[in-house]
């Protein structure tokens, strides 16, 4: 723990501590250099002094330096003046080395050394150690002469200057150390002040990195650091702008991607919802797209045929050949080929295959493949067939009465004595057939218009009671001619309705005509109308030949006529009931049949008053 604390303090204050250490090192170096310089200087002084003094004494005679008898010589003078701190000793020895005279600092005993033997050693400097304390002494030799004869030697010793510390140096050192110690905190403070913004910036950057955001830094600094901060903030500003731009672009890309994805899914949905099976063959003839309609139309899964050529999934060799041909023709820019076939999986269907070359919308010359469309044309073919059958039926139905009319009129023209009875019969037949023809044509026109949707209901306020009564009265003649009991039960008051009067009349007329036609003489046809709050019901009942259960649905089909003899013997073209039903359905009503073979039939028309068509007038 303590180590950590020390480390953290060191980390935090390392700069200050390093400055203290550095200043101490500087002081130490300076002091060391000073001592070395001082030592050198003292040594030089000693050397100058020693050499000059030794030479000076050497120029004197031995006797002048050390008078033989009681006289004061130079030596005695020197003895009083050698008070220097560095002075160690001055010894005069004779040629044999015997000490003649000596002056020394207190406590110093001059060491005994051999006398220099050769003249080259007479003037010499030596470093010796004092006996006892072993202090180092620099000794200067000089010869002494008497009458040009060597009489002895002078040995002058000085303490060799050391690195000692004297109290005299304290003020100097203090003067030297003080400014350094004072300057160190100052520098430290200045540096701290200078680097504080840097530290702040560092911590803010740390924070930004932690938060994962990029903001400008609120840091006040001076000089180059301020300039640096300005540049850094400028850089951050540019980075922020770039990031914003990138985010905006990214948002744009995301929107575009979503839009594209939406459009793609919409197109995909459209393609999948197409009533036809669509596929795209690439240039090699392999399937690159197929919609889900292949499941139902060819019993082939779109996933199973992707990337496969038709020969791998199609069992109809003609279709394979056709598709190969399409791919080849597409490459040459040919348009639209069509082929029809019945798939093996759904043999009751007729499928038409058509192909179109797919060109790039941007580069019209670039072929992207071939679009192949499989369409179920079974219904179209049936419709064509039924349309053809309808026309054939109509032609036949028209020609039959025309044939009768032509035969009878031709016979009347060539009347060669036929009796009156025949003429009356012939004219009646011609009249009946003409009426039949007229009614047939009217019915065909009405039914065709209704089926083509070209007939528009002319909704007018219709007095339903009057319409029913009128239609009933019109048919009364035919009923009477057939000796039928023809009855109507119509309420005195009936609500008016919004309906097409002419169409409703046709429907009612067809039902009444049928009831009369299929009733035997002496029978009964009755019409009943009822109305309550919500509905109107019109029933037409007869006690005629009735309709077999298996034919009760078929009689509403166009041109259906029962093959029963008792029906075939009566004129009819099989359109009346079909038309009546269409008209009633067009008015939002229903036409139902209750019939028992041999007992009679009842046709019931039901209208609900809330039906838009009817209620407006109610």
């Amino acid at each position: 723990m303590q180590v950590n604390q020390i480390l953290s303090v060191w980390k935090r204050e390392r700069l200050g501590l390093m400055m203290v250490i550095a200043s101490l090192a500087v002081i130490t170096v300076i002091v060391g250099m000073l001592f070395v310089n001082q030592q050198k200087s003292e040594m030089e002084n000693i050397r100058k002094q020693g050499i000059s003094l030794a030479k000076l004494l050497s120029q004197m005679s031995f006797d002048q330096v050390v008078p033989p008898t009681g006289k004061q010589g130079a030596f005695a003078v020197l003895q009083h003046n050698q008070e220097q701190t560095s002075f160690s000793y001055l010894v005069v020895v004779d040629t044999s080395g015997r000490q003649i005279a000596e002056i020394s600092s207190s406590g110093v005993i001059a060491p005994v050394i051999p006398v220099p033997s050769s003249p080259s050693e007479w003037l010499e400097e030596k470093t010796l150690s004092l006996p006892g304390d072993g202090k180092q002494v620099v000794e200067f030799h000089a010869p002494l002469f008497n009458d040009s004869k060597l009489a002895g030697h002078i040995r002058l010793g000085y303490f060799k200057p050391g690195l000692g510390f004297s109290s005299k140096q304290v003020p100097f050192l203090a003067t030297l150390a003080l400014p350094i110690f004072l300057l160190a905190p100052l520098f430290y403070f200045l540096i701290r002040r200078e680097i504080r913004p840097l530290q702040k910036a560092n911590s803010q950057l740390d924070e930004l990195v932690r938060q994962g955001t990029l903001n400008k830094m609120e840091i006040t600094a001076t000089g180059e650091l301020q300039e640096f901060m300005n540049h850094l903030n400028g850089f951050i500003g540019s980075a922020q702008d770039r990031i914003k731009q990138l985010e905006s672009e990214r948002s744009g890309f995301e929107t575009t991607t979503k839009l594209l994805s939406y459009k793609r899914s919409r197109i995909d949905s459209v393609l999948q919802s197409m009533p036809d099976a669509l596929m795209v063959l690439d240039e090699s003839g392999a399937v690159s797209f197929a919609n889900s309609r292949f499941n139902t139309l060819l019993k082939v899964s779109p996933g199973d045929i992707l990337s496969k050529k038709p020969v791998e999934w199609c069992d109809n060799q003609d279709v394979v050949a056709f598709l190969s041909d399409c791919t080849r023709k597409s490459a040459h820019g040919f348009n639209r080929n069509v082929y029809e076939f019945s798939p093996r999986a759904t043999p009751d269907k007729t499928v038409s295959v058509s192909s179109y070359p797919l060109f790039s919308p941007r580069e019209p010359d670039q072929l992207l493949g071939t679009l192949v469309m499989f369409r179920d044309v079974t219904a179209e073919i049936l419709a064509k067939q039924s349309s053809g059958a309808f026309i054939a039926h109509v032609a036949h139905e028209l020609k039959s009465p025309l044939n009768v009319i032509a035969m009878y009129s031709e016979t009347l023209q060539n009347d060669d004595g036929k009796d009156d009875a025949f003429r009356i019969e012939a004219s009646n037949i011609i009249h009946d057939e003409t009426e039949r023809l007229t009614q047939l044509i009217n019915n065909i026109l009405s039914i065709t218009k209704i089926e083509m949707g070209s007939i528009s209901i002319e909704r007018k306020r219709v007095k339903l009671r009057d319409l029913i009564q009128d239609t009933f009265d019109t048919n009364a003649r035919n009923a009477n001619a057939k000796d039928l009991a023809f009855e109507a039960d119509i309420p005195r008051e009936m609500s008016p309705v919004a309906a097409d009067k002419d169409l409703l009349r046709i429907a009612l007329n067809n039902l009444l005509t049928n009831a009369i036609k299929y009733s035997d003489p002496g029978g009964k046809v009755s019409l009943t109308a009822e109305e309550d709050e919500n509905s109107i019901r019109i029933s037409i009942r007869d006690n005629g030949i009735g309709i077999a259960p298996d034919e009760q649905k078929k009689i509403f089909e166009k041109f259906y006529r029962s093959e029963r003899d008792d029906i075939q013997s009566r004129n009819g073209h099989g359109l009346g009931l079909s038309l009546a039903q269409e008209i009633i359905q067009l008015h939002g009503g229903t036409l139902t049949l209750n019939s028992t073979l041999g007992t009679g039939s009842e046709f019931v028309i039901d209208f609900r008053k809330e039906t838009d068509l009817l209620k407006q007038a109610v």
């Binding site: 035969m407 057939e433 075939q568």
Partner: protein, 134 residues
């Protein structure tokens, strides 16, 4: 006296043809549809048969094919009255010989004249029937 069978579901047609043919000296039989015609043929083969196409129960086409099957050595001719002039409604008759079509509406006078002409030309020279037409 030549014997002619008229097959038609339209009573007025039978009536007028019967009148005209009887006046021209033919003996006339009638049937209201193909089935009844077969019954008639079984009893009394005619010298010529005039038939409509669209009839209930058994139409003219079925009747002719059935006659071909039942009477491979048929001696009498067949006149088919049809409201359908298109060739595709006549293709079924390709393999039936001694059969001709007359388009509705039919002129009674022309029909009688054609029959007279047919019988006078025939002169007892019976044609083979129910063989592949060339």
């Amino acid at each position: 006296m030549k014997h002619i069978l008229i097959v038609d579901d339209e009573p007025h047609v039978i009536r007028i043809l019967r009148m005209a043919l009887e006046q021209s000296g033919y003996m006339v039989g009638e049937a209201a549809n193909g089935r009844k015609a077969l019954e008639y043929l079984d009893r009394l083969p005619p010298d010529l048969m005039i038939t409509d196409i669209d009839m209930p129960q058994m139409d003219g086409k079925e009747l002719c094919l059935e006659i071909c099957r039942l009477y491979p050595d048929r001696q009498f001719s067949i006149f088919v009255l049809t409201a359908r002039a298109e060739i595709e409604h006549r293709l079924w008759s390709r393999k039936i010989s001694n059969l001709q079509f007359m388009e509705k509406p039919v002129s009674v006078r022309k029909l009688v004249a054609q029959l007279d002409n047919y019988f006078s030309r025939k002169n007892g020279d019976e044609e083979p029937s129910c063989q592949s037409a060339p």
